[in-house]
Symmetry: C2
Subunit: 368 residues, 2 copies
């Protein structure tokens, strides 16, 4: 073959290969497009459990796509203030957010059902209701008008009832108390004589110290320890009946989500599920050691009295009637949750609850 | 430009592009190689919860890789018998398996700790111990000599204590009873006077009917219902203290796993986590409706008596001493589990247990 012919042939061959590549490349590009997305969290970096969930999620998406779908995580306030996460995902300013959707119950009380409502579901029940009890479908239908889709992506487990400057032995001791408590819990606790106030995390300690407020709830031992409340309000009550199994979510703007190949959509869903189980597992490993340190540091641990629990429960029933009259979405989704809750707490009394109560007795008897 | 020069130039250009493609293509191929793997389950198709976990896992891996990494799921017996899953993953006959690793505790009792041991951890504790309590690391170190890596991929929650032909009111009623029960539970229950027997799922019903055996345990209401035991052994006891939170796993042959790009490894891990949370959620949604149907069909539901629980617990403590003397791996990993269990059941008595017990009382009072 002469050189010219060779070059010509090589050119044709090369051209053919190039053409084939041109055909093949978009197929590859379609299934693994290079993307850089941002996820903005409602939580600060210092809450390594809650904000940590955003990082776990973002890292898995990036890793699972070999870096083609890069998701960068931002703590609250860096690109979006913590309480504007839903709005900024709705309008597409950021593609994704990680948040507790009950922050936005001012828009519609139905938002709270995605996270936790007082005397609602525990962690396992919340997962079951979400994945297999119709909640995912119902809530995402509701979120359509906010232009995002929510994926379960974390849970704190049952929270604590908070830190009080004085002992609270009965409902009478709660009267007129200024209690830092967020959301629907505040609405309910107001019905039993408490004055709910909402102040930012950083202002709680000085307010408790000065006595501007009498009590404050935050999350649980591991997160609470960081804020040092035990030094100024050592009476630590449980349970935080307003947050028995709060679910965190990754939310994704609907147009952005629809623009993704199915593979990336599947990766978002699985990475969120990983973050979901991982966060609960992390809290369960960290809370007890933290509680030990808190008690050693002077925290005085007690359950809320029965009359406080009973009055609060009664107030929650009234509140749900009011909210159901107010919001059709709340009415519909709350009814689904309430049905699920009734069945779940019946089932829990059989194998699971009986076993756990036996094991708790063994623990108290120092037999474990 | 004359035609010849153009062709030459084009050839060079095309060649250049081809060369660039040659460099780029393997990078893409490396990150998303076309693979067809098989996963073989220890469970039959009829157990749609347990075997369903294999399908959930396989479908997510396939979807997340846009079909490049195709995982095909096989129920027990189709390509590998259910109780040979570990062996066939060890020797690389199949790349992956889905199983309850305690099936293989005959090789070493440490295997049981990956799934459940009597009076062990509940579902949430098992997840916490696995993901954040050191279990994943310790057990996968142990599994190195079996040449596979395990990923948490499901849970049944606390199982039921099984079906009995006659009422069992106390420890005395258990003496000499022939009880179909698997694994370590059988070893322990033998210490309190029961005769454990292991027969395959399909043979249980006729054996109970004829009275060849007096009792049988299986899983929980949803799975048990399918086998119809309530018709021939209607006394249904709880809890199944030998399986309080059995964890299922996806296991992957170590050489095969190492051959995968990091992205595929990450996808396996997240897809397994999705299957993990999904299976528990599914059981929690299906068990109560099934229990209602069973009770309507004549099942008589009771807890095991306190003396049975106490004697079984005592027998388990003895058994763990014996097994720890026998297997250094069991000794080390059991100690880690026992520490975690002690702390977890202390923590459970604070917010979570108090809340759940309050809610169970509300359920009994018909207030939910």
């Amino acid at each position: 073959m002469d050189r010219r012919k060779f070059i010509k042939t090589a050119g044709v061959v090369a051209g053919g290969a190039a053409a084939a590549t041109t055909l093949a490349a978009p197929a590859i590009a379609q299934s693994m497009p290079k993307l850089k997305w941002r996820i903005t969290s409602s939580f600060p970096k210092s809450l390594d459990t809650l904000y940590g969930g955003t990082e776990v999620f973002a890292n898995y998406v990036t890793e699972a796509t070999d870096g083609n779908f890069q998701v960068q995580a931002f703590p609250a306030g860096e690109i979006v203030p913590g309480l504007q996460v839903a709005d900024k995902v709705t309008d597409g300013t950021v593609e994704m957010g990680q948040t507790a959707l009950y922050y936005f119950w001012g828009k519609d009380p139905a938002f709270a059902l995605a996270t936790a409502v007082p005397f609602g579901l525990n962690n396992r029940q919340m997962n079951s209701w979400w994945y297999h009890g119709g909640a995912k479908e119902k809530l995402n239908k509701f979120f359509e008008k906010y232009n995002f889709t929510a994926f379960a992506a974390g849970n704190t487990g049952c929270q604590m009832g908070g830190w009080f400057r004085k002992p609270i032995n009965s409902l009478a001791d709660l009267q007129g108390l200024k209690f830092r408590i967020g959301g629907m819990g505040g609405k309910i606790i107001a019905k039993i004589g408490v004055v709910p106030t909402l102040i930012a995390g950083g202002d709680i300690y000085p307010s408790l110290e000065k006595g501007t407020i009498d009590a404050a709830e935050w999350v649980g031992p591991y997160d609470d320890e960081k804020l040092g409340f035990y030094k100024v309000a050592p009476y630590y009550y449980y349970p935080g009946w307003w947050e028995a199994g709060p679910m965190l979510h990754v939310i994704v703007n609907n147009e952005k989500l629809a623009s993704l190949p199915k593979s990336y959509q599947a990766i978002i869903e699985t990475a969120a599920a990983y973050a979901n189980v991982d966060m609960m597992a992390k809290y369960d490993a960290l809370n007890l050691p933290a509680l030990r340190r808190l008690v050693a540091g002077g925290a005085k641990l007690s359950p809320f009295s029965q009359d406080i629990m009973d009055a609060s429960f009664k107030a929650s029933v009234e509140t749900y009637k009011e909210l159901s009259a107010q919001s059709p979405a709340f009415k519909d989704i709350f009814a689904s949750m309430a049905d699920f809750r009734r069945d779940s707490y019946l089932w829990d009394q059989v194998a699971e609850g009986t076993y756990n109560n036996f094991m708790m007795a063994e623990q108290r008897a120092n037999a474990l």
